[in-house]
Symmetry: C2
Subunit: 337 residues, 2 copies
DNA sequence: CTGAAAGCGCTTACAG
DNA sequence: CTGAAAGCGCTTACAG
């Protein structure tokens, strides 16, 4: 439909081979004068390279496909920014595909759309693949890597936070603030990704190191959603057996916060809250939420880098505590509680 | 690199032509027995069609490229869901490209990435293109359509809400609640998209119809961001010359809400607030925000439909008022204010 | 420095 | 119903 190198060849009198060399800048294979003529013609005719043809003949692609849940993982933006940044530096292109909200067919469609064309590689942002889809991916012979979730399966490479450390650190922080009855809410410990299990383990370890035996009702699992936060708070109930809670995501934290408000439980006066993620959402609610902040941008950047350079190992990105005022320091006077 | 139809031809003894016909399901051109053999072989060998080759030869594509700002336009998710839904129904594929945060180079990169391969068409989600990039798009000879913003330029087709109506309706609503000093905050009236100007015009019209002359300081423009909300509230100031404000986006509304809290102005007791958009963000803040709710899903669905069916006209999607408690009804007693 | 030719993986008239 | 052949837009040894 559009202008092709053949048109430019005709226009300039050069062969398509020469035109191709100029346009794909094979330095050393053409003179400056030729280049000037060809480029001028290309500009004049409004030439746009058909990368599909290039990819077909070169058998490689500069496209990185990013697969992402359509559900609200509000941290995907900084991850994608990181990916874009690295991709730009390496002269790669990024396309994004929505894999639905944990829906088999949508996942499959996204995967197929990606795999049906030449690709540099695939990055999956916290997409918990169904077994068959994972199989599809594994057999596709295209490099891939997960971002923000981790797995036991040694075939599945990832860049993520150290989720054990997240659980451990959050708990230690609350302990240091004088809390001893500490809850964990909204993490998924059923998923094939072991993110939730790791956080739980880190949490348990920190408690045990401090001679605290985690109570059954301190832990309210969930799927990292806003609703999981609401439900968790309902389950803790008015009498709540905890003085502080670690929430599995910012949305869980906000859900919990709002449900607490509905139950006339004030944060941080009656209940402390530290959330995992630390996205902008923490700053737009009242009170702002203290968080274990993940470095999502870095996750994306590193994920792209490892994919591009064909690294085989996993990587962790840094985490930090961002204090914003949803955690109260317990004093001796509180101990009667 | 992968398995090709040539491999299947070799495996089955059929010609590549026949294999191609079976695999692309050209009914009437093959027998059921042949199909069974070919399909079995394809499955066995793990064949995956190379769509780049197909697109090259057929000169058409089933790919819809969606271009989107990386900045937090939190309503893009439902739009994309709508697009996906329609695309699935029409057996099209969707890829998404990030165009940065109003950055010329990023826009250009996204556009080029899209235009450098066969494409069914392009959908742009509230991307305010720089002039040169718009030119690039216009000359590309690929159908395109904007979603959620509208233009005067008759070359630029769109599916959006009726923004004049939004401004008008929001104002009428507040008038009905007894407000007469009504502000408008965080809308962009400089942009090449005339969304902001339309909202302003609708707002002004509603006031004038009620014999109210809009005061200069009732209007605080901005770029629809959280920060624009903070700034707007600072500008209204402690003495605030308005009793109710219409905010240009949910983020503006939340910014304004939080800044008001900081200034000890209580919403809705001291100040009423109605926001434009009505995304989930309205429901996770306290108080929840009353909104003019846009039908983003429908925007996406219709945008894709119009693109696919090559419609030429523009379209508006429906809007509605969602009352959530950030607007107070003024009584006679308030009138002394 | 340049061109003729083969070929990437597919589709589709054309002929049988 | 099937196959041989041409061709989509590009790249790249090979020969000059």
């Amino acid at each position: 439909m559009g202008v092709t190198i053949k048109d430019i060849a005709k226009e300039t009198g050069f062969s398509v081979a020469t035109v191709s060399r100029v346009l794909s800048n094979k330095v050393g294979f053409f003179s400056q004068e030729t280049a000037a003529i060809v480029n001028a013609a290309a500009l004049k005719l409004g030439y746009k390279k058909n990368m599909a043809a290039t990819e077909l003949v070169t058998q490689k692609s500069s496209i990185i496909a990013v697969i992402i849940n359509s559900t609200k993982t509000n941290f995907s933006d900084p991850i994608i920014e990181g990916i874009q940044q690295k991709a730009n530096e390496a002269d790669k292109r990024v396309i994004i595909l929505y894999a639905g909200d944990h829906d088999f067919r949508s996942q499959q469609r996204a995967l197929t759309t990606a795999l049906e064309r030449p690709l540099m590689g695939i990055l999956l942002l916290s997409v918990d693949l169904f077994a068959d889809n994972l199989q599809l991916l594994k057999t596709a012979n295209v490099p891939f890597r997960f971002i923000s979730i981790s797995f036991q399966d040694p075939d599945l490479k990832y860049v993520a936070s150290d989720d054990w450390q997240i659980g451990y650190l959050a708990t230690k922080y609350l302990l240091k603030k004088g809390h001893r009855k500490i809850g964990l809410a909204g993490v998924d410990i059923e998923s094939s990704a072991h993110t939730g299990k790791l956080r739980l383990a880190g949490y348990q370890r920190a408690l045990i190191e401090n001679n605290i035996t985690p109570q059954k009702d301190w832990i309210q699992t969930g799927n990292y959603s806003y609703k999981a936060g609401l439900n968790a708070m309902k389950n803790y109930g008015q009498q709540k057996n905890v003085s502080a809670i670690i929430t599995g995501s910012d949305l869980v934290g906000i859900g919990l916060l709002n449900q607490a408000a509905k139950m006339n439980i004030s944060i941080p006066n009656d209940l402390s809250l530290i959330t995992i993620d630390g996205t902008y959402l923490c700053r737009i609610v009242q009170p702002q939420l203290t968080s274990i902040t993940q470095n999502f941008y870095s996750m994306g950047y590193l994920g792209a880098e490892y994919l591009i350079s064909n690294q085989r190992q996993n990587a962790f990105t840094d985490i930090q505590i961002s204090e914003r005022g949803s955690v109260r320091k317990l004093t001796a006077a509180d101990s009667e509680n």
